[in-house]
């Protein structure tokens, strides 16, 4: 019914019709699926939440005399430099080397994006071609060469709702969980969430141009822990399922959409803002893109059970979660979102404006994401069993 090329032609002509994943829900409700499919070319999505599996590749440039860095610290946070001489990867959750849990790679990334100076220290064993043994200097995004986020797992298709049945407070990556089902936390923008609105990744694939952290970036690969073997409702996974590996230039990013987080007694994480445009190729794409919070469900898990296989206590809709309360065993339990719906909406709207103004063209994926992929556990095995 509609191709990527036709949509891009319309974007260039300036008469493309774009709606956010929230706006389109009402249009489909009032006009019906077919008519809405004819009218709308692109639906924009957005999410802004903690994405631990994030980090940045940096190239510092060469010093005089040159150094082949063996250990690197940025603001005392170790970065991985088992790469070429002056390349490093700073992981978002890496912690400062002083025992504190509340400053890490995510803060270094945020400070770089803010344009702040960052303290670089490196040591080396020295070689004939790289004689220098150590360096102590300052860098900023302006002084270094490449700086790009390359996040192995972002934009989880769905995620658990966390609660706590035990009688002590738990401090988790899902935030503070009060005892005796005192609260429940969730982390998805639901009806605005990229992968919930294209549940089988029909239009999202390798090479899809996306909004990441304020920049234009791309889907690079399937995300780690990509999983298709999950239960669905209304054709949409009701468990943590597909994920994206994404890439984007830090020099174009803004701290409005990249924010260091600290989860008390858990550690550091990075909130990343991601927006994905969904081309409305036909009415099937539109059907999913227009699902509302009432039709999207997440599993409630008891985080006091320290096991990888926890059975959900129940499934709840995002509409219930967003109402402020869910019901568990006859008790009203207060809910908190960890991802910002407010920011998710700003991202979807910003992406919409960029497309309307001809600044953002859609790309046809150069390759699709896996249609089937199981998520394997790690067990203790002998060499023979592997």
């Amino acid at each position: 019914m509609r191709t990527y090329e036709e949509i891009n032609e319309k974007i260039k002509r300036g008469d493309v019709v774009v709606m956010t994943a929230e706006e389109v829900i009402k249009v489909v409700e009032s006009q019906g699926l077919e008519s809405a499919t004819k009218e709308v070319d692109v639906v924009t999505t957005g999410t802004f939440g903690a994405m631990c599996s994030s980090g940045a590749f940096l190239n510092f440039g060469h010093s005089e005399p040159p150094i082949k860095m063996q250990k690197v610290w940025l603001n005392d946070v170790p970065a991985y430099t088992g790469l070429a001489a002056v390349d490093a990867y700073i992981g978002a959750t890496e912690l400062k080397e002083n025992g504190d849990l509340d400053y890490g790679g995510a803060h270094v990334i945020e400070e770089l994006i803010a344009g702040k100076p960052v303290h670089l220290r490196a040591t080396a064993y020295g070689t004939d071609c790289y004689p220098r043994r150590s360096i102590d200097t300052y860098i900023s995004l302006k002084t270094i060469n490449q700086a790009y986020l390359f996040n192995p797992r972002n934009a989880y298709q769905n995620y658990a709702v966390a609660t706590n049945s035990s009688d002590t407070t738990l401090f988790t990556y899902m935030g503070k969980l009060l005892p005796n089902y005192g609260n429940a936390t969730y982390s998805s923008s639901g009806q605005l969430s990229p992968l919930l609105k294209d549940p089988c990744c029909r239009t999202i694939g390798i090479g899809s141009r996306i909004f990441i952290g304020g920049a234009k970036g791309f889907v690079a690969w399937e995300g780690t822990q990509y999983n298709t073997a999950v239960p669905t409702r209304n054709g949409v996974p009701t468990r943590a399922a597909r994920t994206l590996a994404v890439i984007g230039d830090m020099k174009e990013m803004s701290t409005e959409f990249v924010r260091a987080l600290y989860f008390h007694r858990y550690g550091v994480s990075l909130a990343v803002g991601i927006g994905v445009p969904i081309p409305i190729l036909d009415s099937e794409v539109m059907k999913y893109a227009s699902l509302s919070d009432k039709e999207l469900f997440a599993p409630v898990l008891d985080y006091s059970l320290q096991s990888r296989s926890r059975n959900p206590l129940k499934e709840v809709s995002y509409a219930e979660l967003r109402s402020g309360f869910i019901e568990l065993y006859g008790k009203k339990v207060k809910t908190s979102s960890l991802s910002s719906y407010y920011k998710a909406r700003i991202i979807a709207e910003k992406l919409k404006t960029m497309i309307e103004e001809g600044e953002f063209l859609l790309t046809r994926p150069v390759h699709g994401l896996p249609s089937e992929r199981a998520f394997k556990p790690l067990d203790i095995r002998s060499k023979e069993e592997v």
Partner: protein, 137 residues
């Protein structure tokens, strides 16, 4: 006569820590005192109280405390929010026992109503971008 509700941070020197000063204040000035936080160390004691009563009685009560050698500081804000760091996620919503955070169902912005705060401190380590900061204590 309208009643007022005010918060005060009281600092006691070690020499007066053991005197029943707050008890006297409750009795003699007909005030409702709610203790929000208390701490005693070798440097003395600190008490965060919320006082309910007639405005004239509240100021008399405060006068009494001062004359008894207690340092009194009125507190308008126990915690404050760094607006630039707040991402409006809502993590604080299910934690605050006083419902001092409200989310607007239209804009999905989270507002902080300092007047409702009962100074428990729970939001401080709950807020992932660390927007909530302790002002005192």
């Amino acid at each position: 006569m309208t009643l007022v509700k005010k918060k005060f941070l009281l600092s006691f020197t070690p020499s007066i820590v053991n005197e029943p000063i707050t008890y006297k204040m409750v009795k003699e000035f007909d005030l409702m005192v709610n203790i929000l936080r208390a701490e005693v160390s070798e440097r003395g004691g600190r008490l965060l109280i919320e006082v309910d009563g007639k405005p004239s009685q509240v100021s008399k009560g405060v006068g009494f405390l001062k004359s008894a050698g207690v340092e009194v500081k009125e507190l308008n804000e126990y915690v404050n929010r760094d607006e630039d760091r707040c991402t409006h996620c809502g993590a604080c919503l299910s934690i605050c026992p006083a419902d001092a955070f409200e989310i607007d169902g239209m804009s999905w912005k989270v507002s902080f109503k300092a007047a409702k705060c009962i100074a428990c401190g729970l939001c401080i380590d709950t807020c992932p971008p660390r927007a909530m900061k302790l002002r005192i204590w």
